[in-house]
Symmetry: C2
Subunit: 442 residues, 2 copies
Amino acid sequence: MARPTPLSGFPEWLPAQRIAEQQLLDRLRRTFELWGFASVETRAVEPLEQMLRKGEIDKEVYVLRRLHADPSSADSDLGLHFDLTVPFARYVLENAGHLHFPFKRYQIQRCWRGERPQEGRYREFTQADVDVVGDGSLAFHHDVEVAAVMTEALGSLDLPPLTLQVNNRKLMEGFFRGVGAPDTGAVMRAVDKLDKEPPNAVRELLVGAGLSDGQADTCLALASISSADLSFVDDVRGLGVSDELLDVGLAELAAVIEGAAGIGGPRVSVVADLRIARGLDYYTGTVYETRMTEFEHIGSICSGGRYDALASDGARVFPGVGISFGVTRALAPLFSRGLISASRPSPSAVLVAVVAETSRAASDAVARSLRARGIPCEVAPAADKFGKQIRYAERRGIPYVWFPGADGTDEVKDIRPGDQGPADPTAWTPPELDLNPTVTHP
Amino acid sequence: MARPTPLSGFPEWLPAQRIAEQQLLDRLRRTFELWGFASVETRAVEPLEQMLRKGEIDKEVYVLRRLHADPSSADSDLGLHFDLTVPFARYVLENAGHLHFPFKRYQIQRCWRGERPQEGRYREFTQADVDVVGDGSLAFHHDVEVAAVMTEALGSLDLPPLTLQVNNRKLMEGFFRGVGAPDTGAVMRAVDKLDKEPPNAVRELLVGAGLSDGQADTCLALASISSADLSFVDDVRGLGVSDELLDVGLAELAAVIEGAAGIGGPRVSVVADLRIARGLDYYTGTVYETRMTEFEHIGSICSGGRYDALASDGARVFPGVGISFGVTRALAPLFSRGLISASRPSPSAVLVAVVAETSRAASDAVARSLRARGIPCEVAPAADKFGKQIRYAERRGIPYVWFPGADGTDEVKDIRPGDQGPADPTAWTPPELDLNPTVTHP
């Protein structure tokens, strides 16, 4: 075939980028498991009618058809999942009898949406989700927990500075009610437009939702409040609105900010941002979004919130709270700008040179000995001149070349400074930093 | 929605099974990387015309369509990949300028085929592939290398006893030529039917391919040869057929058997099995298949071979050799029989009890301290009576419950024998064996 070209919206990584991605995924997994979250993977497909049951018809779902399907077959339509929440809700219902609630799971998988591709939006992308789901009820402190575990996980990734923005639907709903809004949902949807529309346009929407000019200004004033500490509580109180649900929301938001602050280290700040509404999604309490500094144009890279009914089979209701990190959304722009990579594109720390094809077995034995002690290595593909074998290692960023010798006269060369000295394959170990490729920020 | 039911052919795992699968995947990755194989992941989709270019029209490919696609749009048809070889060949061509050859990669991903599901055959399944691909040429010793790395990887998995069966197309081709077959390809395809058809039926096919009764018997005699050592060479010689290509094939097969024997430990044997042909696939030298003892009915769980042209863009040809392990094919029957699981369905080694909701922060602090030292743990969801909190841990297989006390009077209880004693959250560590869930063979 002719040289193929990439498919727009289906990003793929070169080996060094993939190593960086793998190491970031390993860190996410490590943190999630340290917090007791169990891995779940779901199949890639869901019955179409279930995927669309929440009116998510705006999602550009990919529908499957078997190439040789009998047109008269009764196969129900299957689509590729567009997120990990819908499949997880289905998994919980299907396996409720085998799970222990509250059930904490993380899920790192690809999703697909047939949307128009642009930076930060792909047709195939990896998500990393954490959720806690309860049977019948789910204590509020899990809202704090998912914010904290994700903040810690994101803090381990060495991404550009991140801001986790938290708000609370009860706070908003209560406030809008206290202001006297006739339709709090319409006010919520208007406020949600603040990141796309100028405040004046949103004020018009608010007035259109039945608010007076003064009420509209009060709602806009609420949306302008943001703080990395608990000062937002006094700022809200200063607007002079009172409502019981507002009190609950304020207390919940304060608890999330207090519980997650500082956990992500210096590169992740957690702020109360009273503008965050998360539009049409079915959240009922805490909501989360995350901005990456200098990459604000790609939108939120990590979002979620509390659902009163993540899933329900009629008889039982399963409330949930979760956050979803857009791995591809965050990494693709960094890869394309060369801002993140790996120290080498190969796992090998050592290239074992081959003196002659007839003595390849001796080189294989050295490699076996190194591997037995956890040192990734490979044997040179050809018994070329040593200069050429060293260049082979150099091109792959392999830091050491091993020269097998007769009867314990082996030598190993660090090809960066060029140091070379005797070495025993059953004892020599590279410095810890050279053992595996590391994530770099060129 | 009503309680959903599983989709036939799309297996999913409960948390303990998923932990077992993850740990086996970790071991595969670990071995592949110790041998210097770099991870590659490709997108899930390929243009349909490229997937079918090798006449693989018999594969039940899933074709994609966007739900809201403009019927007049020129979007080319995309299908879900049915293996990892076709996408990898495309990746090599697309990125040849950025890769270093010979390029060693492993790839662990899902594939999809719309086939009729049965045990060992699924519509969605995970494959773990290793391949080495060269630019223009690829030395034979890589045939030994991929057999060895996969044998070592399989040996790390604690599956039922496995037999890696190796043969060589040059050996077969040369032998059939030496016998005087007018159409060696037809003979190969007939021999390939030996695992489905009785020898008499295959003899008829051979005669139909233009062989005399004697020639057919000689070919059947070749196919009956099998040995875990190099004795197969003399057995073949004993049939009195001579041919130059046969000599090359015998030497290559002997090298693979010699190079891979013993590497997988006591549970993986490597045998020369001269019946293995791998049918219609485009192999040109070494071929591999793998049987799992007592699960022979599911077919080969790990197969591959040497391609003279894994990929080609007309100007350049990229030969390759690789093996693909069917992770789902091997694990699903073991899961369904309860032959493999994990010691617990949660990563948590410790449940930190909560004395009262008002002191939840103290429990959170203990958990933070344990996590900082790499101990997976979770905090109890409610300040229930301790007996109930202990049962929460018991049901999840969490071995330790931590009771926070005032000013350094914390205690930890091993809930299996019931031992309880004082413990310091900044110093206490569970035994290594309890730290993470382990794979079990109930």
